[in-house]
C-alpha cells in the first residue's frame, strides 16, 4: 500500500488528473473518492457547510461523438435522479438528490454514513478467522459459526433480513437497481452512532439498509429484471465467502415475504441461475 501511494501515477489514466470540474465546483479543489467507468465521485458539502454530500460527475468522453455524449450523459443522470426521487417519495431508503445539472454532467446526493454490506461481511469473515478449508462442507462451516457465536449470528441474520426487505421494497415500488452488488448496499448506523469511528465492530450489524448507486437503475416491474437483481446480489455474496452464500438464504426468505409477487420472482431466480450456469459452462 505505502509504495503504491508513493508512486500513484504510472498506470492511472491521464484523464483522472486533467479534469476540470464544471461550475460551481471548478475552484473547489475536491479530492476524488472513487473513479468508476463513467463517473468520478467526490465527497464535499452542498447548500450548507454542514451538509456532507457526494458529487457524481460524468466527464465528457473524448472517444464519443460530442453531441451523442452530451445526450447520453444527460439521459443517464436524469434517469438516476428521477429514480432516486421516486424512491424517496415512496419511503425507500436511498440518498436524497440535493442538486444537479444534466447539461454539465453533475449530480449531488446526500451523504450516507456507514459502511457497505461488502465491508461488513468481509470484516465478519475476518473476525471469525474463517478460512475455506479443503474437504469442509459449507454448511458445516456455517454450523460451526453458529455455535461459535450465536448472538453475532442472530444479528447477522437480522441484517440479511433487512437487506431482503430493502430490495423487496425497491422492487415493490417499481424500480430495479441494475447493479445490485454488496458495495451498493450501505448499513447506516442507528441515529446517535453516526459519527464515523474505526473502532465499531459488532454495531455494524445494526443499522438500516440504504441502497446507493442508481446509475443503472430502471423503472420496471418485470419479474425477469427483479430476478436478475437478486442473481447479481447472490453472486456478490458468493464472491465474499462460501459461508456468506448460506447467509443469502435469509435475504431471499425475507425478500419472498416482503411484497405480493415476490414469490414469483424467486421462482424466476431459479431460471436465471440455470442460464447463468450454462453461460459459464459454454463461455
Amino acid at each position: 500500500m505505502a509504495s503504491e501511494s508513493a508512486d500513484p501515477l504510472p498506470h492511472a489514466p491521464e484523464s483522472q488528473y486533467t479534469h476540470t470540474l464544471p461550475l460551481p465546483f471548478t475552484n473547489s479543489d475536491l479530492a476524488v473518492l472513487t473513479q468508476g467507468a463513467e463517473a468520478l465521485v467526490y465527497r464535499t458539502t452542498f447548500l450548507t457547510p454542514h451538509t456532507p454530500c457526494v458529487l457524481k460527475y460524468r466527464p465528457p468522453k473524448p472517444y464519443r461523438h460530442p453531441i451523442l455524449d452530451k445526450r447520453l450523459t444527460k439521459a443517464r443522470l436524469l434517469a438516476e435522479a428521477r429514480v432516486l426521487v421516486k424512491c424517496r417519495r415512496e419511503g425507500v431508503k436511498v440518498p436524497a438528490v440535493l442538486g444537479g445539472d444534466w447539461e454539465m454532467g453533475w449530480l449531488v446526493l446526500e451523504w450516507i454514513e456507514g459502511r457497505t454490506v461488502r465491508k461488513v461481511l468481509d470484516e465478519w469473515v475476518h473476525r471469525l478467522g474463517l478460512r475455506a478449508r479443503d474437504g469442509r462442507d459449507v454448511v458445516d462451516l456455517a454450523d460451526e459459526v453458529v455455535q461459535r457465536d450465536e448472538g453475532e449470528m442472530r444479528r447477522l441474520l437480522g441484517l440479511m433480513g433487512r437487506v431482503g426487505r430493502a430490495v423487496g421494497r425497491l422492487h415493490e415500488v417499481g424500480v430495479c437497481h441494475g447493479d445490485l452488488t454488496t458495495s451498493n448496499l450501505m448499513v447506516r448506523p442507528p441515529g446517535d452512532l453516526q459519527e464515523p469511528g474505526p473502532e465499531r465492530t459488532e454495531d455494524d450489524l445494526e443499522g438500516e439498509i440504504v441502497l446507493i448507486d442508481f446509475g443503472l437503475a430502471t423503472q420496471t416491474i418485470h419479474e425477469e429484471d427483479r430476478a436478475v437483481d437478486l442473481y447479481v446480489l447472490e453472486r456478490a455474496f458468493a464472491a465474499t465467502h462460501p459461508a456468506a452464500e448460506h447467509l443469502f438464504q435469509e435475504v431471499l426468505r425475507v425478500y419472498g415475504e416482503s411484497f405480493k409477487g415476490a414469490k414469483v420472482v424467486l421462482k424466476r431466480l431459479a431460471d436465471v441461475r440455470l442460464r447463468g450456469r450454462k453461460r459459464t459452462m459454454i463461455g
Binding site: 461550475l23 460551481p24 465546483f25 473547489s28 464535499t44 458539502t45 452542498f46 447548500l47 450548507t48 457547510p49 454542514h50 451538509t51 436524469l78 435522479a81 428521477r82 432516486l84 426521487v85 424517496r88 417519495r89 415512496e90 419511503g91 425507500v92 431508503k93 436524497a96 438528490v97 440535493l98 442538486g99 444537479g100 445539472d101 444534466w102 447539461e103 454539465m104 446526500e110 426487505r165 421494497r169 415493490e172 415500488v173 438500516e208 411484497f259
Partner: protein, 201 residues
C-alpha cells in the same frame, strides 16, 4: 436597520446570500407593486413564509437559481425572480408567483438578496429593507434555521404532491410518516430538493 443573516453557499462563496424575515408587515401591496413594475431598487425575492419549509428547501432553489443565472440559462429576468420560479415544481411562472411570492395582504415576508456585485452587503441590505418594509424585523438565525418557522406544512405537501399517508405498502419510516416534526420535515425536504432539481427536465 433590518436584521439580516448572510450565508455562503458551498462552492458559490463568491456570491453571499442575504436573508431577512419580517412580521406585522403593513405595506406588502407597495412592495409587490415595485416587483411588478420591475423597479431596479427592488430586485429581491419576496417570499411567502408559509411556503418555506427548511433552510435546505430555500437554499436548493437559491443555489440553482444562481447557478442558472451565472451560466445564462435562467428562465426569468433576475436570479431573484428565478428563485420564486424555481421553488414551484411546475413550469408556470405566474403560478409560481401566486404560490411562493407575496400577495397584497401578506403580513409576513421572507426577503432574499444575492450579492452579485460587491456593493450589496449585509449592511446595505439591512439598511434598504429596514427603510422600505413597514414591519418588524425577525432574526433568521445564524444558520438561517428560522426560515421554516411560519411554514404551513400541509400547504407545502400539497404543492409538492407529498402524500401525507406515505407511499403504498410502506413500513415504519415512510416518506412523510412522522409525528416528530423534524423527522417529517427532513423526509419532506429530501424529496423537495430533488423535485426542485428535476423541475423542467
Amino acid at each position: 436597520m433590518a436584521k439580516v443573516r448572510t450565508i455562503n453557499l458551498p462552492h458559490y462563496t463568491a456570491y453571499p446570500v442575504h436573508i431577512c424575515m419580517f412580521k406585522d408587515v403593513k405595506n406588502a401591496a407597495f412592495l409587490r407593486k415595485q416587483l411588478l413594475e420591475a423597479n431596479p431598487e427592488f430586485d429581491y425575492a419576496f417570499l411567502d413564509p408559509t411556503m418555506i419549509l427548511t433552510p435546505q428547501h430555500i437554499l436548493s432553489a437559491t443555489l440553482l437559481s444562481l447557478h442558472l443565472h451565472l451560466t445564462s440559462r435562467a428562465k426569468t429576468r433576475t436570479p431573484h425572480s428565478e428563485l420564486v420560479f424555481r421553488l414551484h415544481p411546475n413550469n408556470n411562472i405566474g403560478e409560481s408567483y401566486r404560490k411562493f411570492g407575496i400577495s397584497d395582504d401578506s403580513d409576513r415576508i421572507i426577503a432574499v438578496k444575492l450579492s452579485l456585485t460587491p456593493e450589496i452587503t449585509n449592511e446595505s441590505v439591512g439598511q434598504h429593507l429596514g427603510s422600505v418594509v413597514e414591519g418588524e424585523s425577525v432574526d433568521v438565525g445564524e444558520g438561517v434555521e428560522n426560515v421554516g418557522m411560519w411554514c404551513d406544512v400541509e400547504k407545502v405537501k400539497k404543492v409538492y404532491k407529498l402524500d401525507s399517508n406515505g407511499g403504498k405498502g410502506r413500513e415504519g419510516g415512510t416518506a412523510v410518516n412522522g409525528n416528530a416534526p423534524t423527522n417529517e420535515r427532513k423526509e419532506m425536504e429530501a424529496v423537495m430538493s430533488g423535485v426542485i432539481t428535476l423541475k423542467g427536465s
